[in-house]
């Protein structure tokens, strides 16, 4: 391949100060070898392993009585659980709703919520959404099929709608005296149905699938889910971020196409901070694995140079 050094080719958009020279646009192409494919899909595979693995731990504990050190391995579901019989884990958003509904859970719930909250706070982004939430598998499937078939959205609402959903959930919790989102959450429904094996509630999951496939692209996870909104707010300050090497970027736009949260890949913002800073980023790694110039990578926030100047050093790596 022709490797063109920085400065040799086209300047795309005029940056505020000086025109930046960019590498030529090469679009992403899926490798032909299986190994190459697996490497591209590495984050997808890891996410599915985590999602399904956690689910199997829950199911094994509930149905087959899995124990470790004579304690149930992971009892409960994503709303609340207990790891090895000692470590409580609770969904902080669920606990927040219970408080909003004018009720006071006991200390265990708070401790569990605090553990989960701090975990994701440090990790950053909506790691829960793309690495644990079972609905993510459904919406990813819907999205894949939608692109395959070429369905255009019937209508679209602003991606900020989810924050109104979050606010509405808290207000309704207060008015009705019950945790409002927990009572209709398709996430909780899907998880419960899978673990406690009942089946009928999976209709809600089918509803989400149809909605994302035929009505609104990335409709549930990307626009409406109040839990996603909650983790977006929490994920703002976390440590694990997608780092962005502006100088190496050819602005081919492949990452934007593949991103389930298109608004987070704002090149101007990303270039200024050297990373994707938006809390809505789910750290799914789709963009990282398809970037033809490999200018996107996971890194710790502390290791990413702030206001990264276009680096003149190494961006010409290719596989």
């Amino acid at each position: 391949m022709n490797e063109v050094k920085n400065g040799a080719t086209m300047t795309t958009e005029s940056a505020p100060q000086k025109p930046v020279s960019r590498p030529p646009i090469r679009h992403f192409q899926i490798p032909l070898t299986l190994g190459g494919k697996l490497y591209v899909w590495r984050f997808l595979i890891a996410r599915r392993l985590v999602q399904i693995g956690v689910l199997i731990l829950f199911i094994g504990t509930a149905h087959w009585g899995w124990t470790l050190f004579n304690q149930p391995v992971l009892s409960g579901d994503l709303s609340s659980s207990r790891f090895l019989g000692v470590i409580p884990l609770s969904d902080p958003f669920a606990v927040l709703q219970i408080i909003a509904s004018r009720h006071m859970p006991i200390f265990d719930a708070f401790l569990g919520a605090a553990i989960v909250f701090l975990f994701y706070l440090l990790l950053g982004g909506r790691v829960f959404c793309s690495w644990l939430c079972p609905v993510n598998m459904v919406t990813d499937l819907a999205n894949w099929l939608r692109e395959k078939v070429g369905v255009r959205s019937l209508f679209i609402v602003p991606a900020k709608t989810r924050y109104w959903g979050l606010l509405l959930a808290l207000i309704l919790s207060f008015i009705l005296g019950v945790a409002a989102f927990e009572w209709i959450s398709p996430i909780a429904v899907m998880h419960r149905e899978l673990i406690f094996g009942m089946g009928i509630g999976l209709i809600a999951v089918l509803g989400i699938f149809i909605f994302d496939l035929l009505i609104m692209a990335h409709g549930w996870c990307g626009h409406l889910c109040p839990l996603g909104a909650f983790w977006s707010i929490v994920g703002r300050v976390g440590q694990v971020r997608v780092a962005f090497d502006d100088a190496a970027c050819s602005r081919c736009g492949d990452c934007v196409k593949v991103c389930p949260e298109p608004l987070v890949l704002n090149f101007k913002e990303a270039a200024r901070h050297g990373m994707i800073r938006f809390g809505e980023c789910t750290n799914c790694g789709k963009c990282v694995s398809i970037c033809p110039e490999q200018c996107l990578s996971f890194n710790l926030r502390a290791c990413i140079r702030k206001g990264a100047e276009p680096s003149q050093t190494t961006h010409n790596s290719s596989s």
Binding site: S75, A109, R192, F196
Partner: protein, 266 residues
């Protein structure tokens, strides 16, 4: 210009609020439809009052996992209890009343009260007997409910009713709400095609006396002084000059209709 901007802003705000309100209404209806529990869908022991329970339950199913007899189930969308909350149906699998109550301490939210340790204090439901269909009440020697009751002779007792010499006595099972835990073993064991003894939510089957009745001894009730400012209290006070409304004491004063002479002929 400024006027139109403000107007646009107000309209926009109204639209957004309206959209939120519409969604809020649908959302509320969804919750209200769910927030109903059937009289025979019993809660685990130690559950808070139903409104507190529904609010506080995290729907995690840890109590379901802890139950050694698969009694507890998590409710699904179409079930008889609110979505995701634990319940059991006595006729299917009753509560075995484990002495260590394993379902309660695992509850992470306190919807099942951690201070609850004595299973005999549980009030999951209350058994009621259909005396018309009960085999024992009909004169057969059944008494299965009595035999299976974990708090026998307290929650359920047999009243022996003698009949004429040629027929044996009737052994009537009688439930005592003071001790019935609502475990449902009687309903599970009842041999009739549809159980003649049912365990239901206490508030569906239990009456309640007015505040002014105080059950003193046995079947004697006393009318209490329920307060100085009510008409009844005035009426009961001897020598009250104030005109009291006809109430409790109505029948003691002969006559009450106008034109009738107290103690006189009609």
């Amino acid at each position: 210009m400024e006027q139109t901007n403000r107007r646009q802003f107000l309209i926009r705000t109204a639209q957004m609020t309206g959209a939120a309100a519409c969604i809020g209404i649908v959302w509320t209806v969804l919750i209200q439809n769910q927030a109903q529990v059937a009289a025979h869908a019993l809660r685990p022991p130690g559950a808070l009052s139903e409104s507190d329970f529904m609010a506080q339950c995290l729907k995690c199913g840890q109590c379901v996992n802890a139950c050694p007899y698969d009694t507890l189930k998590l409710s699904t969308i179409a079930d008889v209890a609110p979505i995701g909350t634990p319940y059991f149906i006595a006729r299917e699998i009753p509560c075995e009343m484990c002495a260590d109550v394993p379902c309660v301490p695992v509850c992470p939210s306190g919807a099942l009260d951690r201070n609850f340790t004595d299973i005999t204090k549980a009030r999951m439901g209350l058994a009621v007997i259909d005396e018309e269909m009960c085999l024992s009440w009909r004169g057969l020697r059944c008494e299965v409910c009595y035999r299976v009751c974990p708090v026998r002779d307290k929650a359920i007792s047999l009243t022996i009713v003698q009949r004429e010499t040629s027929r044996h006595a009737v052994f009537e099972p009688v439930i005592h709400s003071e001790h019935c835990t609502g475990c449902g073993k009687c309903e599970k064991a009842c041999p009739t095609e549809e159980a003649a003894v049912r365990v239901l939510w206490p508030q569906f089957v239990q009456g309640k006396l007015g505040e002014h009745y105080s059950p003193t001894q046995g079947d004697n009730f006393k009318v209490q002084d329920i307060g100085k400012n009510t008409n009844i209290a005035k009426e009961l006070k001897p020598g009250s000059k104030e005109q009291a409304a006809p109430g409790m004491n109505y029948f003691n004063q002969s006559g009450g209709r106008e034109g009738e002479i107290p103690g006189g002929k009609p």
